[in-house]
Each structure stands twice: as structure tokens, then as C-alpha cells.
């Protein structure tokens, strides 16, 4: 109801489209990059639990460590690690871009789009490379 009111012209009463209407609005790449930076940041924060568990287990002894390492080496563990590694690469690469923006560099529309594509490609590529080398090392 409030949607209808907001979307109605003040005099004519005609229906006006809301913009951006999130159900039909395609987010531009910079917006996707921005919300992905935030989501990966939240994911990495939750992922610190795994880091803390791994270290505490290592300090507790071989049995506790074997439990933690067994979980990380399980299919669910590999899936979590894949997500964590990608989030780390994305957040790190995009974070460097944010630092450059804060310093006043690369703020034009061209570099912003180009950087968005590069970071998506590089983060996925580096994730595959990281997991591949780790799998090969086992």
C-alpha cells in the first residue's frame, strides 16, 4: 500500500515505477562489487572461528588437532575452505582497490568497471590455484 502511494504521482494519481525496483533492477557491477566486499568480510569474520579452533586444537594436543584437521579435510571442510579462500582473495584484492580509491586513484567509471571484472576473475583463478596447490601438496 505504501508502495502504491510512493509510486503515485501527486496530482495525476497515475502509477509510477519505483526505482531502483530490486525485483527487476539489475545491479551494476560496482554495486555487486561493493555488496560482495561486505558479504566476504562478514564471511571472513565468521571464518575466524575456524582459525581459532585450529590453533587451540593444535595447542591442546595431537588428538584434538586430529579432530580439527579431520573436519577441515572432510568434504564439508573442503567446501568451507574453498569459500573461505575465495572470500579472502576477493576481500584482499578488492580491499587494495578500496585503499587506492581512498587515496584518490582509479575513481573514474572505466577503471572501476575494469577493476571489477579483473578482481572477480583473479579471485576465482587464485582460489582454484590455491586449492589446487594445496590438494597437490597433500
Amino acid at each position: 500500500m505504501s508502495d502504491t502511494q510512493a509510486a503515485t504521482g501527486p496530482k495525476t494519481g497515475r502509477q509510477r515505477p519505483l526505482s531502483p525496483h530490486l525485483q527487476v533492477y539489475r545491479l551494476p557491477l560496482p554495486a555487486i562489487a561493493s555488496i560482495t566486499h561486505r558479504i566476504t568480510g562478514i564471511g571472513l569474520t565468521v571464518g575466524t572461528l575456524l582459525l581459532a579452533w585450529w590453533l587451540i586444537a593444535a595447542a591442546a594436543g595431537p588428538e584434538a588437532y586430529a579432530t580439527a584437521a579431520g573436519f577441515i579435510g572432510s568434504p564439508i571442510g573442503w567446501l568451507l575452505m574453498a569459500g573461505w579462500v575465495w572470500a579472502l582473495w576477493y576481500h584482499t584484492l578488492n580491499g587494495v582497490r578500496h585503499l587506492a580509491w581512498d587515496a584518490g586513484y582509479g575513481l573514474e567509471l572505466g577503471p572501476v568497471y575494469k577493476g571489477g571484472y579483473v578482481i572477480w576473475g583473479a579471485s576465482v583463478g587464485l582460489t582454484i590455484a590455491t586449492l589446487g596447490v594445496a590438494a597437490f601438496a597433500i
Binding site: A52, L55, G95, D102, A137, I138
Partner: protein, 137 residues
Amino acid sequence: MSTASNTGHGKASMRTPVARARGLGAAKEGVQHWWAQRVSAAALVPLALWFVASIIGLAGADHAAVVEWLSNPLVTVLMIVLIGTTFYHASLGMQVVYEDYIHTHWLLIVVNVGTKFLCVLLAASAILAVLKISLGA
């Protein structure tokens, strides 16, 4: 150029000169959070790269290998710095997310302070674990 100018840009400002001198802005807390987030981010770039490289080297390692790795003094120091910086940066970042999406003031305070308590607790536990291994206790 107006004589009433206090912005340095030739336009009269609604802000008092003392407010401008304090530099705390509308949020009344200045740029400390912003700077701390950037400085911790910059520190985490090399630390994260080092950590990922180390973890790849430790893939499939047993307990003894992890203990030996963490016992190296350089690794001990870098891990402690990594843990402290990571949880500091995480708490600063989560605060910004909460401030954007939680509009009930008391809930914002509770969630934010709760996250900071949790971050300090986890950081202290992880650092103790590293020290315990490194010092061979």
C-alpha cells in the same frame, strides 16, 4: 569572498568555528575509526598473503609439523600480529555493517559490544594457543 567564511572555500558555513576545529563531524567521533580500518587493512595485505602461502605448505600436515612451524620465532610473532590485526579489523568492519542495518539503538549497542567482546576473547585464546606451542608449555 565573504568575511563570515570559516570553511576556507569562500562560502559561509552553518558550522561553528569550534566544531570545525574539533573535526568530529556529524557522527561526533571524527575519523579515528576510518583510519584504523584502513591501517589495519594495509597491514593485513602482506600478513594474509604470508598466511595463505604458509597454509598451502601445511596442507595435510600432522600435529608435529604444525607445532614445529608455530615454534619458529618469526612464525610466532607474525601469527600473533596476524591474529590481533585480523580480529581488530573484523570488529571495525562488523561495526560498520551493524550501523548500516540495525536501526534500534539499544540493539545496535548490544550487538556491537557483544561482537567486540567475542573478538577480544577469540583473539586472546588464539594468541595463547600460539604462545603455548611456541614456548613449549
